[in-house]
């Protein structure tokens, strides 16, 4: 429980990663391509968050 922010964090090491479906830049022309956790079954996924575009990462 993340008390300071008042929400429950689902991500726990050793447990299934929280599901997601997000729009991506996979197709830069249409910008309609999505990525879901299931898309990465059978592969390793390195997912990283960052605060905002046009900042250092």
């Amino acid at each position: 429980m993340a008390e300071q922010t008042g929400f429950y964090c689902q991500a726990r090491v050793g447990h299934p990663a929280p599901d997601f479906t997000l729009k991506t830049t996979k197709d830069l022309d249409t910008l309609k391509s999505t990525a879901s956790l299931q898309d990465y079954r059978g592969k390793w996924l390195v997912m990283f968050f960052y605060p905002a575009d046009f900042t250092f990462v």
């Binding site: 929400f7 689902q10 990663a17 997000l22 830049t25």
Partner: protein, 126 residues
């Protein structure tokens, strides 16, 4: 961002996909990708950027700064079965280590016991 992109091949060689996520829209992502590095852009990226405009994913992964609607610098490694194997979260000001990410990825892929400071190629504990 460019640090991960420049070493994308090392992730690909380990059968790993890379995905960057922020709360920006895909339109802003596209503008950033189309901006050269010397103009504060990322230039061509070797992996896609995802848009968490609802903040749900950042919240689920425990990286959302609710008051600002943006994500701290969390990095997560998910194994081929969908199990979360590694999580590290930096606050906004400190970037991550590509070297350390690759080291941990290789350690996880050994499937064995990797002691402190284990490096790829070193022997396992079991």
């Amino acid at each position: 961002m460019t640090a991960f992109s420049d070493r994308y091949k090392e992730f690909a060689d380990l059968d790993a996909e890379v995905l960057g996520v922020s709360t920006d829209t895909v339109f802003v992502h596209k503008a950033w990708i189309n901006t050269p590095r010397d103009k504060n852009g990322v230039g061509d990226l070797n992996f896609p950027l995802a848009s968490d405009t609802t903040h749900k994913t950042a919240r689920d992964y425990g990286v959302l700064v609710e008051s600002e609607g943006l994500a701290t610098r969390g990095l997560f490694i998910v194994d081929p079965n969908g199990v979360l194997q590694y999580a590290v979260i930096h606050n906004l000001n400190v970037g991550r280590s590509v070297d350390e990410t690759l080291r941990v990825l290789e350690a996880l892929q050994t499937g064995g016991l990797c002691p402190a400071n284990w490096r790829p190629g070193q022997k396992l504990l079991g």
